[in-house]
Amino acid sequence: MNLALKDIRHNLSRFSLTALGIGMLLMIVMGMGGIYQGLIQEATLLVDNIGADLWVVQRETRGPFAEISRIPRNLEDRLKSMPGVVSARAFVTYPVQREFRDKPLRMQIQGLSWPDDRGAWLPLVAGRRIESAHYEMIVDQILGLGLGDKVKLGKNVYTVVGITKNMSSMAGDGLAFFTLLDALDIQYDYSGEAIRIEREARRWRVAKQDIGATLPSLLERALLPSSNLAALPTPYVSAVLVTLFPGTNVNTVVEKISGWTDVTVFTRDQQNELLLRGVVDRARRQLGLFRSLLIVISTIIMALIIYTLTLEKIHDIAMLKLIGARNSVILGLILQQALLLGFLGYIFAFYVGKWVFPMFPRRVVINADDLIYLAMIVFVISILSAGLGIWKALSVEPNEVVS
């Protein structure tokens, strides 16, 4: 005969409600861990998937994700000529916030070096890769766009041709992939007036110099688009991604590139490390502290509940002592209830969490390690929380039944 269960049967609705409450608390504890794991996944997903061995960025920066990096696009060519390099492709990343169907659309734009990179590495759930040099985009489903949707960005309209899953930036915004040129277009989208003024200013600068006076045809040239002017730099990109031949010694290449004074190079692991340490670390500690606090709160609440359940039974416990029940019987009664409460709460947290977490705006990843870890915590706090009740129960005297 199990006294703990018999008592619960007697108080079924209250016990279930209590388990529910504990379950919700545990669900939040579980969710906290899940949010952290989600942050890690979000942060590293792009770097893991994009398939670059090296990230070449602006000198002394930790770009392109942790901070802004600007390097000339033609760095691509310098890198391509290095021994061991299969490909070097420019990459652009920056956030935008625009309106779409009267709602704010926040996305992290990624410019891929089309046609070398057509987004073949992207986990598509619908649609296709980028097949055209212009006006096509692949977006994450988090952005809420559908295949065929047309979005005006800058002067042009881009059509959604592919949808990815779980590709989001560290800020939780969905990623949107364009060809590099389109991405640069959107980034450097100047109005006609701004361009006209800039060209006029250019002409005026040339006219003021000797060369303008001696070569009047240059004045006409200054009015041309900037890409037609050899004297102006090529557009800046965020990084150049380098893929190496299998078997190439990464360190040798890194050493060589590190010798260049205009760039900094990171391996894939270093880039991941930058993301995790620099950007995710504070969130991790924040969530960790919050989580510890919740665990302490859960323990206290559970202890109070177990204590009240015990207090209510104190007369019966005195009676058990009176008829000679061993302490193990009394201990078992309280401990089993505490453990059952923890267990039911955990099960509740698990199943309800499984259903609720996917509805959260950011990723919540519940992994097996975390589940085991939390199960152990629940086990420990159940035992701890029973302590107060057990202490009370063991200190009651059997003669309290008669008094």
Binding site: M1, L3, H10, N11, M319, L320, L322, G324, R326, V402
Partner: protein, 242 residues
């Protein structure tokens, strides 16, 4: 300790509750002897100290001074326990308290089984024994009910069944028939009598019920915490019972 040697002896037992101005002497210098298989009534007005004596003999309360022997064992020397009182209670003593004290979340039969299970009798054996006791106390039809569904008298009879479950050497009952009609009250007293005869159980019953006094071997009377007299019940009625 065996049944034949189990006799209970109290030596100058005194119980003082509280201290200072609030001091109440509930029992003073009480000495007595109960033989094996003896059925003894404890009479006295309210507040005389009957319940106090029962709880001290039942090892629920410790005396302020005096000694208590069960069989050859000195079980308490003043407030100091000389044996594991809880184990003693579990194995040798059955209680019927003045107020019924069934475990509210256990059914009638489970309450009885509980007493058996803490004495390591479990499963079918425990269930059969419990049902048999409930039957002999005429509450077997209520065996599956929780205590709050039972009348006061039914609860009291379940409590008696629980007290007798382990065939204790000593049964202590505090007004066990208060909630019962006279017929049922008498049945309970006769049940104690039977248990005493069949198993050599010593029974001590605090009672106000003068109608059943003929069942007892001996009557102890208390007043103001003192034991007045120890008179033997009418010898002829006693012989008639045996």
């Amino acid at each position: 300790m065996t049944a034949s040697t189990l006799a209970i002896r109290g030596q100058s037992l005194t119980k003082i509750y509280g201290s200072g101005n609030a001091e109440v002497t509930a029992m003073e210098d009480v000495s007595f002897f109960l033989s094996t298989g003896e059925v003894v009534a404890l009479l006295g007005p309210s507040g005389a100290g009957k319940s106090t004596l029962l709880t001290i003999v039942g090892l629920i309360n410790s005396p302020t001074s005096g000694r208590l022997f069960i069989g050859e064992d000195l079980v308490t020397d003043g407030p100091a326990a000389k044996v594991n009182l809880r184990a003693y209670r579990r194995r040798f003593i059955g209680y019927v308290l003045q107020k019924t004290n069934l475990i509210p979340f256990l059914t009638a039969v489970e309450n009885v089984r509980l007493a058996l299970e803490i004495n390591d009798v479990s499963g079918r054996a425990a269930r059969n024994r419990a049902m048999e006791l409930l039957k002999s106390l005429d509450v077997v039809h209520r065996s599956g009910n929780l205590p709050y569904m039972l009348s006061g008298g039914e609860q009291q009879r379940v409590a008696i069944a629980r007290a007798l479950a382990n065939r204790p050497r000593l049964v202590l009952a505090d007004e066990p028939t208060a909630a019962l009609d006279s017929v049922r009250g008498r049945q309970v007293m006769e049940l104690f009598r039977t248990v005493a005869r069949e198993y050599g159980t010593t029974v001590m019953v605090a009672t106000h019920d003068h109608r059943s006094l003929d069942i007892f071997d001996r009557i102890l009377e208390m007043e103001d915490g003192k034991l007045l007299s120890q008179r033997h019940a009418d010898i002829s009625s006693r012989i008639a019972k045996v």
